[in-house]
Symmetry: C2
Subunit: 386 residues, 2 copies
């Protein structure tokens, strides 16, 4: 058992960021910087939903605790929206407002996982999910999937190959961070049916639900409402990542367990951020979203064209294999060469077993800055000038 000077072995086993040695060079870099390694947006939130719009006089209690469950009006608005979008009856008790989708997924993991449990994770995957699983003493098991599986039968083969007696849950993100792909409905149906047969929980990270550019975003919870937790966020959808407001939706009795963990890891989601989110439902959110979706679609398509990649189906990312451009310094050398040109990209190993990939976020900076950063990358990949 750990005691001074030892730590939790599970947490000690979470790798530190190999990239931090590079990322801090942003602050000292001379010349224009292209910080495309972060998943964020350059856009401010819609007018009326910014901190300066939240008058203390209009919102008594603005700086006091919100209920740990969430601001009642926001919980109700979200439950109604989820019900309308998914077709699944959704009550306030099915919802938890959280410190971003990270807080939501952390609380879900804490509620479900015991030491020794394994969680199947469709890969490439959101970087934090592996560490979330480890933080609660369970083991993440990457399932190579996006870009490799093309049909429902392949989906079953992929998950069955990694399932063990210790498997308790399956996690997936769609629209996917980092690949920009959307998992088709028929594959989700196949996975949901398999999970039901195997007695597993399902966790769907759908924070990019509003950023699907072609095809359809299918909701996993609609296919297995009794066992699915879904995570959403105002962060990416509305330029509010710093507000730390996301939410989890799931079966009410299970959400009671999830709320125990959220109460003990962040207590309540920030009050002002919840009020800002609530103001989106006053007709401010939808027009912003419609305009932004079209803008992101164009930005993603332009970046993909320049880099010779397929256009993304959703999310705000491109995921590239740069194996042909590595020398004996490997991926870290390539990333160093990028940094010397002011370009910051996220390293493939953060997303699973992808030692020669990089991720680029095409909304992380002003479009002109992103375009120049993409141009730097295109040059390094030997793409001829446009």
């Amino acid at each position: 058992m750990p005691r001074y000077p030892d730590y939790s072995p599970a947490v000690a086993g979470i790798p530190g960021s190999v990239y931090s040695a590079l990322a801090h060079r942003i602050e000292t870099f001379e010349g224009e910087v292209y910080p495309l390694h972060v998943g964020d947006t350059w856009l401010e939130p819609p007018e009326g939903c910014r901190m300066e719009d939240l008058a203390t006089a209009a919102y008594p209690g603005l700086h006091r605790y919100a209920p740990p469950h969430g601001l009642p009006a926001l919980v109700e608005a979200v439950a109604a929206q989820v019900a309308a979008r998914t077709g699944v009856p959704t009550e306030p008790r099915d919802v938890l407002m959280a410190t971003g989708a990270t807080g939501a997924l952390g609380a879900v993991a804490g509620a479900l996982l015991a030491p020794g449990d394994e969680v199947l994770i469709l890969a490439p995957h959101w970087p934090l999910i592996a560490g979330i699983v480890r933080s609660f003493h369970a083991t993440p098991v990457a399932v190579p999937y996006l870009g490799e599986v093309n049909d429902p039968e392949g989906a079953l083969e992929a998950v069955a190959a990694r399932r063990t007696p210790a498997t308790v849950a399956l996690y997936l993100s769609t629209p996917n961070n980092p690949t920009g792909r959307v998992i088709p409905r028929d594959q989700l149906e196949s996975l949901a049916e398999w999970a039901r047969g195997e007695g597993l929980w399902l966790i769907a990270d759908e924070v990019y639900e509003d950023y699907c550019y072609r095809g359809e975003h299918a909701y996993l919870r609609a296919l297995a409402p009794e066992r699915t937790f879904a995570a959403y966020s105002f962060s990416k959808a509305f330029g509010m990542a710093g507000n730390r407001i996301g939410y989890a939706v799931g079966p009410a009795a299970a959400m009671d367990q999830v709320r125990k963990v959220s109460t003990h890891t962040f207590y309540s989601a920030p009050t002002a951020g919840q009020v800002a989110a609530l103001r989106l439902f006053d007709g401010r959110g939808e027009p912003w979203l419609a305009a932004t979706r079209e803008r992101y679609r164009e930005l993603g398509a332009a970046a993909a064209r320049r880099l010779g990649l397929p256009e993304p189906d959703g999310s705000t990312f491109l995921f590239l294999d740069v194996a042909d451009h590595l020398d004996d310094r490997g991926l870290f050398g390539f990333l160093e060469d990028c940094v010397e040109r002011g370009l910051f990209l996220a390293p493939g190993p953060s997303f699973g077993p992808y030692p020669t990939h990089v991720r680029l976020c095409f909304t992380a900076a002003e479009p002109a800055v992103v375009a120049r950063g993409v141009e730097v990358l295109a040059g390094m990949l030997g793409r001829s000038p446009p």
Copy 2:
């Protein structure tokens, strides 16, 4: 191993709030309500430190992610303040900005604890610490202490009696929630020396450091900096509980482990709340604090006098044994009787093995409301009218 429809046994073992059945009656109660069960303040934050004061134009990135470690300027300001107050050299790497002290202590617990570990907790204790320990699959062990231990020798006897081979850490809160007592320096010295000899970590919850009304708040980290984590908060000190900004301070290498857990449970503390906290360091915080400390001291003293209790030494709470006023319905019946009069109090069992106690927060509502609530309680306890 848990799988659908089972949960983490550790989390399933966290008791739900026995009080929630009563607390929700606040919303439907007809007549004046005295919500003295919550630990909060009725005061708004200092002018200049409210959400409406945070102009997007003045703070580029106000709605974007802060670095997971914390806003650099705030981390530096906090490190300098901690160094000045404790005399312990404190660098930015020793600090983590968190979603309140809850987020800070959750991340510390996650970094330290493995399944089967035990944590000694000086009781009565802050209600959430037991569930925090359980959320990371370890076991909280209450050590009856405040109100029972009077000298350094007694301190050693109290902790030694509950220490087992599984003990890995000792947690204490001073100024104490819920008792309003401050643990004297000589007892802390004794506990620190004991922890060093036993090879244990120390966790000091000092969120009421600014609210010590008599005697001295001694900093545990000054006595054992190599093994002590301390948690602080802007929530209670400055009327900002809803902003969810607190911080942890500890040994740098250990804080690297703590940051792994915070990244995976809430990612980063809310940006606007950190900017608001930073503005306190522009000369706005100290005068507010000096005035508020005196005001809280008077409120605590007045409530204590009316209830026939010793005045609190610190914090914003009184903790009363109401054993002589219980009928065969026990404590819950007494709390029900309070609720019927509009008075909401926190039940003793939330704070450890205290089946006949209640906690009252004397800053949870406007002073006149608190005074009327105290009057209700005084009447129930048979105190003659003033």
